[in-house]
Symmetry: C2
Subunit: 720 residues, 2 copies
């Protein structure tokens, strides 16, 4: 169904037509349309339709379908201020709407033989777009189909898929994904729950040995879940084979009462996502048949003999956890959706809203014509494009691996590293962006109807679930540093290699394909990058960004080397501690480079010259903004002189002025219309109000009844 050709949401269907009309027919034809290029100049314009189409990406039909679905179904939208209980039930009903979707929106990832589409990438795309309606719906759907059902899909045998997936897919069996425990979140390998095989009855006995081993924060656990995929230490014949996943019924599907031996607690009210019934679970001698160990990577025979196709317990563990990567990819995409929606609302408002006049009798100035306001919003638009283009490439990498087309240990590792680094940095970025947008709209930004606070409260937890962001960055950084370290070790064996290390010329693999694909002409043309002094030159930007990644990774690799050789765990821990902050920073730097590359490649795909010119400026803003926020590193490491460092800031200032007339076009191209934004401050009514106020004062002046101002009578201008 991925190939079903559907036009993008803004140009099809009645509802979409309304959206389109609303977007183009901006109310109040003020003398100068504020987002038109400066009057008198015949400068380039953004071809919004082309850019929007580009952003839709490879799964444009799936994305458009999901956007239309969201726009049309009011009953799946979040209502702020309803009780937690109401919200939970509403979310479950919304999932049923999803499950009924004629395109099988939520089943795309599942096998065709069970009614799915075998379309791993498209599945994530559809899920990402749910954010804009209700993040609770997105995450509760994610729990059901992306974690609970996906565990059966990825960790189960074909027999288990056939037996257990249908109920999970059609929602007749709502399920929890019971991995995290109160005592262990990031460190999954240390969970305390046990599944001990009893050959006498051919059953596993699930137990929670102490309070810290209660399963915790599980969606569907507090109320709706009737089964769970439970991660526990598999013990058979006196040996612990490490964490495995088990299918465990937890509630009577009729009464929703816990089954014998199962207990739990409601997590209660949360900072957001209150449409999801998160809770705790614990098990006391709960027996499940041997057949319900999800047995793709590890099997227990009737007599208790354990077998696995993966010999190393460590590698087996990480293989089983590998499916979790899809959650991270989805969260990266959701962060992109959140940033787009927030920036579209705040930018449309800032383009219209006026406050303070430059002088007596003059019109007030729009917020976007203040340098500070531009600096707050516009670089975030640029970074959102970068995040979006990189996410599209991540989706392709994911799809390649999960469809089997390019599934190698190396691509899996690339995928995990990239997903970890991108998810961590994009969820943080989106959080900061929503908060910036909320403040940029003042009191209006604080009203739930204008969306920022509502989206932000839900997005909050995206920074710590599917992997705490710091832990994820560390994971990615360890890969970067590890690769580099191996290179160093080889290089150190020869004097020439050693010289190369000193000169900082040792290149390693992942780092220098930071780039998920090869860079296009844009950069290649720039030539001798380091020599170029022009900050607007792509090659210069890339050399600076890459230089920082190199520098950080090399520094950490050198700093951590003694830890490799020491036998003293405390000493090793101390060395790690000395390097941890820089280690984590290096993964952030790498993510920024990955995004710059993706953005630069995307420029090649833009046909309209005006649009490409403007988007190149937007790319420059992104690149220079990243450099600006790390200026201290560039200066301290001699990569930029003091005067060039100052030029970075002034250049950004001028670029922001340059794209200010295109700001609304740039957010329109994100592809969210009024039916998605649904924010009164972004629907044009601000301009209508201003026109009304202006008309009032104009008519008052014409009537001759206008009061004189005391100020003008005194002939003084004392407002300071």
């Amino acid at each position: 169904m991925t190939t079903t050709s559907e036009p993008p949401v803004t140009t099809s269907s009645a509802a979409a037509a309304t959206v389109s009309a609303a977007v183009s027919a901006r109310p109040g034809s003020a003398p100068s349309a504020p987002h038109a290029p400066a009057s008198g100049t015949a400068g380039p314009r953004v071809d919004v339709a082309e850019l929007e189409h580009l952003l839709l990406g490879r799964w444009k039909d799936v994305r458009s379908h999901a956007r239309r679905l969201v726009a049309e179904h009011d009953e799946i939208w979040k209502i702020d201020g309803i009780s937690m209980q109401e919200h939970r039930e509403r979310t479950l009903e919304a999932m049923k709407v999803m499950a009924r979707d004629e395109q099988g929106q939520v089943w795309r990832a599942f096998p065709e033989r069970l009614g799915g589409n075998d379309d791993a990438g498209g599945n994530l795309v559809g899920c990402e777009e749910l954010f804009v309606a209700d993040p609770s719906l997105q995450i509760k759907s994610g729990v059901q189909w992306g974690l609970f059902a996906a565990a059966i899909l990825h960790l189960g045998t074909e027999e288990q898929q056939d037996r257990l997936l249908p109920g999970a897919m059609d929602l007749s069996v709502p399920g929890a994904f019971a991995m995290t425990e109160t005592g262990h979140g990031s460190d999954v390998a240390s969970v305390g729950t046990t599944a001990t095989y009893d050959p006498a009855t051919e059953e596993f006995v699930i137990n929670t040995p102490f309070r810290g081993a209660w399963k915790q924060y599980l969606g569907n656990a507090a109320r709706h879940g009737v089964a769970a995929t439970v991660f526990a230490q598999l013990i058979t014949n006196g040996v612990n084979h490490g964490v495995h996943c088990f299918y465990v019924p937890i509630r009577n599907p009729e009464t929703l009462e816990f089954l014998p031996g199962v207990g739990g607690e409601d997590d209660g009210h949360k900072g957001g996502l209150n449409g999801i019934d998160n809770g705790k679970l614990h098990f006391t001698d709960v027996r499940i048949p041997r057949q319900d160990l999800l047995a793709r990577y590890g099997q227990v025979a009737a007599d208790g003999t354990y077998t696995s196709s993966i010999e190393s317990p460590g590698r087996r563990f990480f293989t089983m956890l590998g499916a979790l990567v899809q959650g991270r990819v989805t969260l990266d995409g959701s962060a992109s959706v959140a940033a787009k929606a927030g920036l579209a609302i705040a930018t449309k408002y800032a383009d219209e809203r006026r406050q303070f006049a430059a002088g007596e009798g003059q019109d007030e100035i729009t917020l976007l014509d203040y340098a500070m306001h531009r600096k707050r919003l516009l670089p975030r638009i640029a970074e959102t494009y970068a995040i979006s283009f990189a996410h599209e490439e991540l989706l392709e990498l994911f799809h390649g691996v999960f469809s089997g087309a390019t599934d190698t240990p190396e691509t899996r590792e690339d995928l995990e590293t990239t997903a970890a680094a991108l998810k961590a940095t994009s969820t943080w970025f989106a959080m900061d962006t929503l908060q910036t947008c909320r403040q940029a709209c003042g009191g209006a930004g604080f009203l739930s109807e204008n969306r920022f606070t509502s989206m932000r409260s839900d997005l909050d937890v995206y920074t710590t679930f599917e992997g705490d962001n710091h832990v994820l960055l560390q994971l990615a950084a360890k890969r970067l540093v590890g690769d580099h370290g191996r290179k160093l070790a080889r290089a150190a064996k020869s004097p020439a290699g050693m010289a190369g290390i000193v000169a900082g010329q040792v290149k390693d693999t992942l780092l220098h394909k930071a780039s998920l694909r090869k860079l296009g002409q844009n950069v290649a043309d720039a030539g001798g990058a380091r020599a170029a002094s022009n900050l607007l030159d792509g090659g210069t930007q890339r050399a600076l960004l890459e230089g920082r990644v190199d520098g950080l990774v090399h520094s950490v690799a050198m700093g951590m080397r003694p830890a490799v050789s020491t036998k003293d765990a405390a000493k090793a821990q101390e060395i790690f501690d000395e390097n941890q902050v820089e280690l984590i920073t290096s993964a952030t730097a790498w993510a920024e480079l990955v995004r710059w590359d993706a953005f630069t490649r995307a420029l090649d795909a833009i046909k309209d010259p005006g649009t490409r010119a403007i988007m190149t400026t937007v790319r420059d803003i992104y690149g220079l903004t990243v450099i600006e926020r790390n200026l201290d590193w560039y200066l301290a490491n001699g990569r930029l002189s003091a005067s060039r460092a100052r030029a970075v800031t002034t250049t950004i200032h001028h670029l922001l002025k340059k794209i200010r007339p295109h700001a609304v076009d740039l957010v329109d191209a994100f592809g969210y219309g009024e039916r998605h934004l649904r924010a009164p401050i972004a629907d044009g009514s601000e301009r209508v109000r201003q026109d009304e106020a202006r008309a009032y004062y104009r008519e008052l002046a014409a009537s001759g009844r206008a009061p004189k101002s005391e100020k003008s009578l005194r002939g003084t201008a004392t407002r300071s």
Copy 2:
């Protein structure tokens, strides 16, 4: 009553005794108490009681009373997850508890002749402490007593105070403060509401001439308010005398229905503070008697003649708005309370919570023993101390002005500048801190019971109300730059003066008493500050911080000079635009310097040598953290060499390790016990769970029934 001697809350009364016991009796005597100094060293310890007493400040009795009141009255606490309507009614009831308080907690600022205490400073202290129970209670109280009643107090005549204050004070007349309009928030001078004097009936006629002039975001407007202090353009005899404040009944006190000519709307659900019934108001030919213009600064005679003791309309306007400063002072204090509560919870948890072991068979590492986690939390503890000490000085400055003891135009201006800069930076800091704390506690941090998300959602709007933070910083910066500019203008009249400008040696007043009071010995002793190379030297830190303020202010002053002489408003606006970002940055830098000075002065007041030594390290962490986050400026402006810049980061790292054993003591000294924190993750149960888990594994091992691990059987350590 300010002088009533009351012991701090943690050592008096039954409830407080519980708190104290809970704080000192930490559960589970683990072999090494994690917040004890490194074993083997007889290093200094924090005298928690002394430090707590120091933080209580000049109004220690008021603060202790408020904390006890909050700890004891469960009925005033926020309940997360109740409906907006329930929360609104609960908050009104909580205000009645406040109004009944035997110490007149909320009446402190009012005249003694009406039952108040004439204690401006103490009033704010009491209000600040309400944050920890329910920010809605704090802000709805602030609306009633700090805005509505305070407008009558500060803008009314004695006759008006006597007539209108009693109902406002005892809550029989809940009131709204109707200043902001849909069309004008920050730019109050431009509000559209009119109050036109009609000499025929000796009445003012209040009108809302267009939609943009609706009053907006007003607490008490949607439901409870029966009167409002309305800001409107005063028009009499055909002249507009600018914005004045009017007392306007809006609802029938019995039925709570709007009076004729008054209309409004409910603002509905908000990002936080849902215990407050914010709403909109509009007026159509609403007539009020001439006597209800609050007439302290402007009067209208029966025949319509306008008089004022302040000739300049601009100065009159800013004088009338001057009372708003108390809101900003309170928000600065509230930010300090929020940061303290958040950091206390997150630090206690991080001190106990363990995740990942350094090696096989070793105990897991506490979060605070990770460098990244220390870097996330501990500098924020240092900055919170700085904010708290500076706030105490701000309170004294405020009290001096509002008690009349030191009320001069100059101190008023100092107060406004300082309050603006501190409020803006501290509310941002507290927001980021709560978010950092929330993430530092992972999934547990997202549960409402652990407080972070709940406090954060309410605190959010503190960044834009009582003055948008960017607007406030600009206000403060204009003062700094203006002072400097006048100095420059004078200096430029002589060649020597000009040379001084070039050498950056021109000093101006406010800037160099950045310091609210003179600096103590600590810094004076350091001598030739600029020459000192030791980053731990107070004089060096101050020279660096002051140098940045100087440099930024001078740069902006030079950049903006052409705007002063030009007659072209567009040109002037363009020059302003070029400098706006740096302008705003300069006020931030100044706030950081003010705080460093306040912290340094506070060190002198610490008697216990060990505590003073540790707190000096905490001060150093604050100073170096500020320098570190602006390293790019120091490097680009040649104030630090590359190697010294790197030393800043490594020095901070080592200082954080050094104070890690004192982290819990440092947050205990904030003075909030379990009855204030009320967060399950900070009550010691995490350690109890860990002890239980350890005991389980120990007993299992001793029993001989423990499974062997497959990993150990294979003799491989494949976990990477």
